[in-house]
């Protein structure tokens, strides 16, 4: 049975997590309520998994993760947090986090997460992923497949701009524009004829 360490500065949260994890049948080797102790305990016990909150006094969960990654400790880190920011998740991902859970969904997801991580797989809260997607504007014009930049390019093509003009207007290289054009043609399944894109854009694309 894998050994687990839990760190959270909120006592209720800490105890709740501990009891919950134990109820799932895991062995909790130690608990603590600040980042520095957490790092020291990880170095001391070398648990298989560490469940860390991000906002903690001393060191944040993110910093503990960074330290664990930089000295290549074998412990796999799961961040359990209220933060739903993409930037934080990306930073954690850079540091090699194994699991990223939102506290509000922990009750449903923690079991799954621990199993995955124990097998050496990544687990990212599906709710987080939906949030990341949700950020984007939903287009209902059949252009869902196009990237943001591609839609911008398409809009300008509809305004009869040349590739060079588009490049200047969007502060990108002309080659990039050509690249986008090719992608759009492919994604929209347009015939590979001259001006096919221009014709389609003028006909279909309205701002």
């Amino acid at each position: 049975m894998p050994s687990i360490l839990i760190a959270d500065d909120h006592p209720f949260s800490l105890m709740g997590t501990k009891v919950f994890v134990e109820s799932l049948g895991y062995r909790v080797v130690d608990c603590c309520s600040n980042g520095i102790t957490a790092l020291n305990l990880i170095k001391l016990h070398l648990p298989d998994i560490a469940i860390l909150d991000i906002n903690m006094p001393g060191l944040s969960g993110l910093e503990v993760l960074q330290q664990v990654a930089s000295v290549r400790l074998p412990t796999r880190v799961i961040l359990l947090t209220m933060h739903r920011e993409k930037s934080i998740f990306e930073k954690a991902n850079q540091y090699g986090v194994y699991g990223y859970l939102l506290k509000e969904f922990a009750q449903n997801e923690l079991d799954d997460c621990l199993k995955k991580v124990n097998q050496g797989k990544l687990y990212i809260s599906p709710n987080l992923q939906s949030e990341l997607v949700q950020d984007k504007t939903h287009s209902k014009d059949g252009l869902e497949n196009l990237s943001f930049a591609e839609r911008k390019v398409l809009a300008l093509i509809a305004e009869h701009k040349t590739s060079k003009q588009i490049a200047e207007l969007l502060f990108i290289a002309e080659k990039t524009v050509e690249h986008h054009r090719a992608n759009i043609i492919q994604k929209l399944n347009l015939p590979k004829e001259k001006n096919s894109l221009l014709v389609w854009a003028t006909a279909n694309y309205k701002k």
Partner: protein, 800 residues
């Protein structure tokens, strides 16, 4: 009358200070040029000039003593003849002719002993004779005469004479190796000189006291004394004493191993020697500077000084010095790889050393030649008729010969050096056993010398410390001395002025009489003239009156034109002044306006800032109220209901809180870093506004987290401006950090705006916000806007 004044002047002269010696000399020489009578005054004058020359130019001095003596003999004045004989003798002695000096002293002594027993010149004669005997190594006689002179001066209570006598006495004691008595005499001498405030004398004593210390290796003490002496001498007046001190200081620093200071003092010595014009000193000083440069590995300079020394030494045919120069030139040319010249001088040195029959010199020239064979390339060796295979053998022979000679002379330092070179030679020849033995001998001798060297090293460190300390003290004391000198100078000039004035009054009183007579005659003549004039005047009056009328008319006309001219010039100046004033006041007005504008802008900014804070609070308050409390209220109402609905509601609340807090401050900003934060910001911005923002970021965190936050806020502000006003297609953010600066640029291709006008409108809070934030992080903001777009660029210089 004039004669008396000259006398007074001359009598004061010996009491003038050393620093004024030169000035005094100048005035004496001037007097000498105008005073052409051949009488006792002239002799006195010449003798005084001689005395002034003694401390720094005995050669020129000798000429004046000679002239004085001739003059005194020609007018048969026994006192001055004897005095001139004494002084000429002293100069001859200084110029290295002790025998001739002794003859003159004897003549002078005869006169004073029989005719003028109490005159202090007699004491001087005794002392001078003593010092000549000392030069001739007749120490008993020397001691006898000097003691006699000393007794005389003590008897007569002549302090200066006694001081000189003690000085000479110490030299004599030194010669018979009675250093205790010599030291005692020096102390007496120094005390007397100090009483007389004779700096030159004290310096002399100090040099004398330093020399034995230097010879016995007590460098620190010697350095101490020499520096004290240097302090007493006026460095602006070149004298043989000054030369002596400089070259001694050079020697000391050489022993202590401070090559830069060696060069400094040796060069100073050159300057003194050159201005004194004494060839032996010049040759010696050139040689010394050459050696100093050689030690510093500056062979070009070293050679040029050696060659200079060579030409001087050849002129005076100073063989020992010539040998030294040759023996320096050889190795120096060898270093320069001029093997022919090197060979030539090595041979010259060897020849001369044998001619001089000095075994140390011979030894030195031998190992120099050995070293030559060791160093030169094969081609040169062949030219010398030696097979390259014989190279080491040949070098070895010379070195062994040299070693034997040194061993005979018991020169340990050179013996150890020879063993070292022998060891290298044996090694190169492949005879390692011999090499080992030679090296062991080298080490043994070196070790015994090394203990001395360590001692010297300690002394050097101490000396350096003392030297630095002393220099500071010296400066302070020199300032004090300078002040005193200034005072005394003032006093003497006042005296001289007083004398001049009396002199002039005397001349005037003579003139007065003549003048009175002249005046009387003149008056008479004038009376006659006047009578005649009166007659003539009466006749002329009529004519004049008519001319006068014409003249006045003309003058009035001239005055009028002049007035016109003046008015024009005045007008021009006034208008010019007016123009300058106008420009100046315009400038001031502009400045004031600008300042006012800036003040108003900053006031507006503060006002806006406060207002915005208020608005921000209001927004947070309403956000909290509208969303959170509202949601919580609904939650409370449905709390009994379906658990899934409750859970969903709570999720909404959590998301609301998230979005409120995210709007307030980017979460975990310092841990996420600027770059990722900008990217997130841009992405969200693009999605929210359907507006494309390109980023070009080349930045590793070089700024502090709080500075980074300001940049983040600037970008936020700028982007929000672009969306609100620019009507652009896209924007681009560039962030580049180099070693010198961080550059942040936000560019859009919108419609642009009038920068100046907007900034001063009192409404451009966003722009001012950007400028102020940039200022907070030490950056400067540039705003450029045309109809094709706007560029905001911020440059923050990096603190290294």
């Amino acid at each position: 009358m004039r004669k008396l004044f000259l006398y007074v002047l001359l009598m004061c002269s010996p009491f003038l200070l050393q620093a004024q010696n030169k000035k005094k000399l100048d005035s004496l020489l001037r007097l000498n040029n105008v005073y052409l009578k051949k009488d006792t005054v002239k002799i006195k004058l010449l003798l005084d000039i001689h005395r002034s020359y003694v401390p720094f130019d005995s050669k020129t001095g000798l000429k004046y003593a000679d002239e004085a003596l001739e003059l005194a003999q020609s007018i048969h004045h026994p006192f001055f003849t004897a005095t001139a004989q004494l002084q000429k003798g002293q100069s001859l002695q200084d110029n290295g002719k002790p025998e001739e000096a002794l003859q003159l002293y004897a003549l002078s002594k005869q006169y004073f002993e029989s005719e003028n027993k109490k005159h202090f010149n007699l004491g001087s004669i005794y002392v001078s004779m003593g010092s000549v005997y000392a030069i001739q190594q007749k120490s008993t006689l020397a001691l006898q005469y000097v003691q006699k002179g000393l007794d005389f001066f003590l008897d007569q209570k002549q302090k200066r004479g006694a001081a000189n006598a003690y000085l000479a006495l110490s030299t004599s004691y030194q010669q018979i190796n009675d250093s205790a008595k010599a030291e005692e005499a020096l102390k007496q001498s120094e005390a007397l000189y100090r009483e007389l405030k004779d700096n030159l004398g004290i310096a002399l004593v100090l040099i004398k006291r330093g020399r034995p210390q230097f010879d016995t290796g007590n460098y620190q003490r010697a350095l101490d004394l020499f520096l004290k002496a240097l302090q007493l001498l006026d460095e602006s007046i070149y004298s043989s004493r000054l030369y002596e001190i400089y070259s001694l200081l050079g020697d000391i620093f050489n022993r202590i191993g401070d090559s830069d200071k060696v060069l400094l003092y040796k060069q100073k010595a050159v300057a003194v020697a050159e201005s004194l014009g004494r060839e032996p000193l010049i040759a010696e000083s050139y040689l010394n500077v050459g050696v100093a440069y050689f030690v510093l590995n500056n062979f070009d300079k070293s050679l040029s000084y050696y060659l200079k020394a060579l030409s001087v030494a050849k002129k005076i045919d100073d063989k020992p010095k010539l040998f030294i120069i040759y023996s320096k030139l050889g190795p120096a040319y060898l270093k320069q790889k001029d093997f022919e010249k090197s060979w030539m001088y090595l041979q010259e040195a060897h020849k001369l050393s044998q001619e001089l029959q000095n075994s140390r010199h011979i030894a030195a020239s031998l190992h120099d030649i050995g070293n030559y064979y060791y160093t030169v390339p094969d081609s040169v060796l062949l030219k010398r008729g030696i097979a390259p295979s014989q190279r080491y053998q040949k070098s070895l022979e010379y070195n062994i010969q040299s070693l034997q000679l040194y061993e005979k002379a018991g020169d340990r330092r050179n013996i150890s050096a020879r063993w070292a070179s022998l060891s290298i030679l044996y090694r190169d020849m492949g005879d390692f056993k011999q090499a080992y033995n030679a090296y062991r001998k080298f080490i043994t001798i070196k070790d015994s010398i090394l203990s001395e060297n360590i001692k010297n090293e300690v002394i050097r460190k101490e000396a350096q410390y003392d030297f630095d300390k002393k220099e500071a003290q010296l400066k302070y004391e020199q300032q004090l001395i300078a002040k005193e000198l200034e005072k005394e100078k003032l006093l003497t000039t006042q005296q001289q002025q007083a004398i001049q004035i009396t002199n002039q009054t005397l001349i005037l009183s003579e003139k007065d009489r003549d003048l009175q007579r002249l005046a009387y005659l003149q008056e008479k003549a004038k009376k006659q003239e006047r009578e005649q004039e009166l007659k003539l005047a009466w006749q002329d009056k009529k004519l004049q009156s008519s001319q006068l009328l014409a003249l006045t008319r003309e003058k009035a006309l001239q005055l009028q034109t002049l007035a016109k001219k003046n008015a024009l010039i005045g007008f021009l100046i006034a208008s010019l002044l007016g123009l300058v004033l106008a420009v100046f006041s315009f400038y001031l007005w502009q400045r004031q306006k600008r300042l006012n504008q800036e003040k108003e802008n900053s006031m507006n900014f503060t006002k806006q800032l406060l207002q915005n804070t208020e608005e921000e609070r209001q927004r947070i308050a309403s956000d909290l109220h509208d969303s959170i409390s509202h949601e919580l209220l609904t939650l409370k109402n449905i709390l009994q209901g379906d658990i899934a609905t409750v859970s969903g509601k709570i999720d909404t609340i959590i998301n609301d809180v998230r979005s409120i807090s995210r709007n307030l401050h980017p979460v975990l900003f310092d841990q996420i870093g600027l770059v990722l934060n900008i990217k997130t910001l841009v992405e969200r911005f693009e999605n929210q506004n359907d507006f494309m923002v390109m980023t070009d970021i080349d930045y590793q965190s070089t700024l502090t987290s709080s500075d980074e936050l300001q940049l983040y806020r600037i970008i936020q502000e700028a982007l929000s401006n672009v969306i609100k006003y620019a009507n652009a297609h896209a924007a681009k953010i560039t962030l580049q950090a180099t070693e010198k600066q961080v550059l942040l640029e936000i560019r859009d291709n919108g419609q642009g705006f009038d920068v100046e006008k907007t900034l001063n409108s009192g409404k451009a809070f966003g722009l001012h916000n950007i400028i102020e934030r940039a200022r907070v992080v030490g950056g400067t903001t540039q705003l450029q806007s045309t109809s094709k777009g706007t560029v905001i660029s911020i440059v923050i210089p990096q603190k290294s």
